[in-house]
């Protein structure tokens, strides 16, 4: 119950950092919920990534939390400001589902897997180990990362609750 009162919310195409309690994002479909955690400083960060790469932006990049390639460096920067160390960061992620299956050649349709790939590339680039993931499938997820122990709680309509 006390946990409930200190939940930091992350919206779609948004990112945030949290020092106590937990951090949550709801209704991940093809978006990826990427979480970073510093197990020593107990600092948690989460990004709700919507699209794989800012190269496709037609607007000029106004919201850097929206794209995997810009969200990851920003999340690292924000967490480092709070006292996290890049070398200690561990990543977990969930989401990247393909909500509807299509025999379409439209690349937009398989955005989920592309988001996951792009997030992984960015983690690799910054040398952050990916401890666990729950990605793919065709269902939505709500995820919550606890600052205390870095466990990622994943809920879905079809499969219930699990922790990674």
């Amino acid at each position: 119950m006390i946990e409930e009162s200190t939940v930091v919310k992350v919206g779609m195409a948004d990112l945030n950092v949290c020092l106590t309690g937990s951090i949550r994002t709801t209704g991940l479909g093809s978006c990826v919920g990427l979480t970073l955690y510093d197990p020593v400083a107990h600092i948690a960060g989460m990004a709700h990534v919507m699209l794989p790469s800012s190269d496709i932006a037609r607007e000029g990049v106004r919201n850097i939390a929206k794209y995997a390639d810009t969200a990851v460096p920003e999340l690292i920067r924000r967490m480092t400001l709070e006292g996290a160390k890049l070398t200690r960061l561990q990543a977990k992620m969930a989401g990247g589902a393909q909500m509807f299956a299509f025999a379409s050649n439209n690349d937009m349709m398989r955005i989920g897997p592309r988001n996951v790939e792009s997030c992984k590339q960015m983690l690799q680039k910054h040398g952050i180990p990916l401890l666990a993931e729950d990605t793919g499938g065709n269902y939505g997820r709500t995820i919550e990362l606890r600052c205390g122990d870095g466990m990622l709680n994943i809920r879905s309509v079809q499969l219930g609750v699990k922790e990674i």
């Binding site: 919206g11 779609m12 209704g27 699209l51 299509f102 379409s104 937009m108 709500t142 879905s156």
Partner: protein, 206 residues
Amino acid sequence: MHLYERLGEYKMDVLKEVGNIGAGNAATALSHLLNRPIDMAVPKVRLVPFECIADEVGGAEQVVIAIYFRVEGEASSHLFFMFELEPAKKLLSNLEFFPAGEEQAFSEMEISALSEIGNILAGSYLSSLADFTRLSMSPTVPQLAIDMAGAVLNYGILQYGEMGDSALLIDTKFLEGCDEVQGTFFLIPDPDSFSKIFAALGVPFE
């Protein structure tokens, strides 16, 4: 490229009429199917910020039944028909071959029937729209998901992600009897489709 932020009231009204014609025909189809009167609310056309989109259907985690169609053709779009679970059950109980039961889960037959209802409604929505605009619009095979509203609707707005942080929704609610929401139609035209819709209707669009 913030085209949609510059849409004036007049253009919003045109889009509202687009939703009205489509949903009006779909409501008539539903009314025939159920053999009882179905009302519809005045369509809403709004530019909705991403983080608020799920609130339109009761929150990101609200479990809904969504029947989704990708609309191919000149005015390519995403079309969703969404119910909450209970109204969906009620809708089915109106059909003679599905007796009202206590069961929470949906049988395969019920799922199939809902897809088919969605198919009929989407067909009448789109064909009236296509007649009105003389643009080709054809739905793909329906896909049904029972899942979190946020995750489902998210699928329709990805293309808006490239252009900004909000999406244009044309939605219409169906009512039966006293304010009981039966379902909601969401038409989400692709960003590139607007110019075609406006051109087809003779509305200047720069």
